[in-house]
């Protein structure tokens, strides 16, 4: 074996006897798709869909075999059958409109005020230094705890919902705007002064567009926070709205209707946040 024809393995070039060891890496062996290719995307989304289907299948099975009580979780197929009825019901349009109005009002109030306060705090650095800790603390406070007080002040209805949602959305918007204002290159301000820009031109034509990369994520978070608070507050104080409908169905022990409401809210949230993210990306691409 030693003196005769060399064994096959010596055909493989061996590492030279130096410290620079050549490592033989097998290439293109893996049949796993590479990131960025179409096959990769298909694999990712396919797996995600399979996981979802498996989850629903399991729940369906558990519900049908009675492993999970009907009063906790009805079978998904039953919820799916109920959905069209809920959507077609006379209340649904009113609920959707109510929630949309509350969310819209909260955003219309919170976004401009958040941006303006952020800019003002960035402009007057002393005020910024004083108030920034308050803002960032407010971030961590579940503003929902103030609802009894607002309820006493404003009564049952949409006002306390809008107030709390707007306050909650205001925090990330103003904080991100402040961060943007502080991290902005001083050259932009110098340029504005050197070209004799008035205040309006300075903000609208230079500072705000320059801050877009930080403004957009703040607004995205603000919108999503407003959505969360609107639905949550509707559970507590509303007489109409998507959140109210869920809690109302639940108090009547209509579990299928409750779940149908939950599914609708989940779908609307997903659609909204996807739209917000996509719009944000487009705006940033246009302005960056």
């Amino acid at each position: 074996m030693t003196s005769k024809a060399p064994p096959a393995k010596t055909q493989v070039p061996t590492a030279p006897p130096s410290s620079f060891t050549e490592v033989h890496i097998p290439r293109a062996r893996s049949r796993r798709p590479r990131p960025g290719t179409k096959a990769y995307r298909v694999a990712v989304h396919g797996t995600q869909l399979t996981l979802l289907a498996a989850l629903f299948g399991l729940i369906e099975l558990a519900a049908r075999t009675g492993h999970v009580s009907k009063f906790v979780l009805p079978a998904p197929s039953e919820i799916a059958r109920k959905l069209p009825h809920v959507v077609a019901s006379s209340q649904f349009g009113g609920d959707l409109r109510q929630s949309a109005i509350e969310l819209g009002l909260a955003c219309i109030i919170a976004l401009p005020i958040g941006v303006i306060v952020g800019l003002a705090l960035g402009r007057w650095s002393l005020a910024g230094r004083v108030l920034e800790p308050f803002l960032s603390t407010l971030y961590a406070v579940p503003l929902l705890v103030f609802y009894p007080i607002l309820l006493v002040m404003m009564g049952l209805g949409w006002t306390p919902i809008v107030v709390i949602s707007a306050a909650a959305a205001f925090v990330p918007v103003s904080m991100n705007t402040l961060t943007g204002a502080k991290t902005l290159s001083p050259t932009f301000r110098k340029l504005a002064r050197s070209l004799n820009c008035n205040r309006r031109q300075t903000y609208l034509k230079i500072l705000l567009p320059a801050m877009v990369p930080l403004l957009v994520p703040g607004i995205q978070i603000g919108l999503i926070v407003a959505l969360v608070y609107t639905i949550a507050m509707e559970f507590l104080v509303a007489v109409q709205g998507l959140g109210f409908r869920i809690s109302y169905s639940y108090t009547l022990f209509q579990m299928v209707a409750t779940w149908a409401g939950i599914v609708i809210v989940v779908i609307i949230s997903i659609v909204l946040s996807t739209a917000i993210t996509a719009t944000g990306r487009r705006v940033r691409q246009d302005l960056d």
Binding site: L191, L195, N196, I206
Partner: protein
């Protein structure tokens, strides 16, 4: 003197510095940036400020422009005291100051837009200026698609399009590699020899100072004073051949000699 033969542009303005000094007080720290500088910049001349880093060159430009006010002394332009940025002055910054969300065309026209110039005229003037700085064909590009040198061309065009009577330039080529820097310097010379406005140009590059200027102001280290005013007597139009002029080498040696004692102690003098 050859500098006397330079035709004085009627529209350019002369700048006088009357014993200006600048002390910064920030966070309990006192920095005397400029002790006292008195000098006169004749109209239609290219004046360069050279000095060790941190000696107050940028501050000096800010004071001339009126972006800041001196703590002592004052600046006059054609006899009028400076109180703030004037419309007939324009500044080019060292850092990239292009607006990254605007095209080259809209960047160059920006000052005109702010000043309320009509769109058609904006377009015409910006296009002419884009051509002058050699950016034709890039009108619709965004700054992120341009090199550092091209971005500075945009910034220069944005200043020139305002037809300033005084142009202030704070190390506009400071962030560029040497070849790009030299080439842009050549183009600036060519453009300036056409426009003949007054230019106050800051650099720390000795060769750049000589190739561009009629006069070089040499600053000392901080707290700075104007150490020497050196007149650069080299023929115009100044092409790249200026490099082989024996006087160029002499001026460079002279400037080195003036600056060397300033450079090695700069780091010692901080504040008091």
């Amino acid at each position: 003197m050859a500098t006397d033969q330079i035709p004085e542009a009627q529209t350019s303005l002369g700048v006088s510095l009357h014993g200006i000094g600048m002390v910064f007080e920030a966070g309990g720290k006192r920095t005397e940036a400029i002790r006292s500088v008195s000098a006169t910049m004749p109209p239609g001349r290219f004046v360069t400020v050279i000095g060790p880093s941190g000696c107050g060159k940028s501050t000096l430009l800010d004071l001339v422009f009126g972006l800041q006010m001196p703590t002592t002394g004052y600046v006059t332009i054609d006899g009028e005291p400076v109180t703030g940025p004037r419309r007939d002055m324009s500044m080019v910054f060292q850092e990239d100051s292009t607006l990254h969300w605007r095209t080259v065309q809209d960047n160059v026209a920006f000052g005109l837009e702010v000043a309320g110039v009509r769109k058609s005229e904006r377009r015409r003037r910006a296009e002419a200026m884009i051509k002058l700085v050699g950016l034709s064909g890039f009108e619709d590009y965004r700054p992120r698609q341009l090199s550092g040198g091209m971005k500075q061309r945009v910034a220069i065009a944005r200043s020139l399009v305002m037809e300033p009577r005084i142009l202030l330039m704070d190390e506009p080529f400071g962030a560029l590699d040497q070849q790009t820097r030299w080439r842009l310097g050549g183009e600036l010379t060519r453009i300036w020899e056409e426009t003949r406005n007054s230019v106050l140009f800051v650099t720390h590059d000795i060769h750049e100072a000589i190739r561009l200027s009629d006069v070089v102001w040499v600053m000392s280290e901080r707290p700075s004073v104007l150490k020497t005013e050196m007149i650069v007597d080299l023929p115009r139009p100044r092409t790249d051949e200026v490099l082989s002029d024996p006087r160029f080498t002499q001026y460079a040696a002279q400037l080195w000699e003036l600056l060397l004692p300033e450079i090695d102690t700069t780091s010692e003098a901080v504040s008091r």
